[in-house]
């Protein structure tokens, strides 16, 4: 039985869509003394172990991301 593949999926808000969470984080950082942060976007990390990577795109499109408002990327992690 081959080892399961480790897949890392990143889901992020689509460019140009208002990201209130990112904005909240961006405006909180100066209050803690961190300067120079121009933009922040908050997304989601999903890590999976799968037998085959063939259907990862379909998983991302149907469940893991909402294509109306999010983009995704994934990679096999060693």
């Amino acid at each position: 039985m081959p080892d399961a593949l480790k897949v890392r999926v990143l889901v992020r808000p689509k460019a140009g869509i208002l990201d209130p969470q990112g904005e909240a984080v961006r405006s909180a950082l100066p209050a803690l003394g961190f300067e120079g942060v121009q933009t922040v976007h908050v997304g989601r990390l999903i890590e999976m172990e799968v037998e085959s990577a063939d259907e990862v795109d379909a998983m991302c499109q149907r469940l893991l991301s909402n294509p109306t408002i999010e983009e995704y990327e994934w990679e096999i992690v060693q």
Binding site: I17, L18, P20, Q21, E23, A24, R44, L63, L64, N66, T68, I69
Partner: protein
């Protein structure tokens, strides 16, 4: 008339929805998320709450519940469906309604009573309302900020598919949209809660203006 109310793990406005259905004179039917059929109901309400804990995204997991298969067939053949709050989120995730509900712009859970205007009255859920009628309805949500791309927003406006519009926008929704309908005008999603104001004992029964519409709208 029999109106079904779907119940997912984490739904918490189902009992208010069942009560609201009874208050407007119909028979309330519980539709459990694992049910394989809609029990012959004439209309369906998908109520508010935190189905599946809002895990991943609000409504993202509920849309794949077993009852959603029959519900989608029902909607696609013209059956009246009303999604309230989390229900609206479920219907957008299921692509029965366009757009998506984002986090409120001000990053706070909003719990308030807001004034809305009824616009499209050619849906089963607003057929009993006057065009332009103003209602005060409760809202209680963290992700009620309606979003759709510019082309979709323009189409919703041109096709007069905005069903409710905020007079006081509580969450940053595009075009102050509080509720929309699908192309067939039979599926409606609203963020405010008409079922929470279905009895004078609750402070108001203005919500019945919407709920009772389906008696008119379904020709019963």
């Amino acid at each position: 008339m029999r109106i079904g109310v779907t119940i997912f793990p984490g739904s918490n406005c189902d009992r208010d929805a069942l009560y609201g259905v009874e208050r407007m004179g119909a028979e309330a039917v519980e539709l459990w998320h694992a049910d394989a059929e809609l029990k012959g109901v004439d209309a369906v309400v998908v109520p508010g709450g935190f189905s599946y804990g809002d895990y991943l995204r609000p409504g993202a997991i509920a849309r794949f519940a077993k009852v959603m298969g029959p519900l989608e067939e029902f909607a696609n053949s013209g059956g009246p469906v009303l999604g309230v709050c989390n229900g609206f989120q479920v219907l957008t995730e299921a692509h029965l309604l366009p757009g998506a509900l984002l986090r409120n712009t001000h990053m706070r859970f909003v719990c308030d009573r807001v004034r809305v205007r009824v616009e499209a009255t050619d849906t089963p859920w607003t057929a009993g309302c006057d065009p332009g009628e103003e209602l005060t309805l409760p809202v209680a949500h963290n992700e009620g900020n309606y979003f759709a791309d510019p082309e979709t927003l323009a189409r919703l406006e041109d096709e007069e598919r905005v069903v409710l519009r905020y007079l006081e926008n509580p969450n940053g929704s595009a075009n102050d949209i509080a509720g929309v309908c699908n192309e067939g005008h039979n599926v409606v999603g609203v963020m405010p809660h008409p079922e929470r104001v279905s009895d004078p004992a609750l402070g108001s029964d203005e919500g019945l203006r919407i709920l009772r519409s389906v008696l008119v709208g379904a020709g019963v």
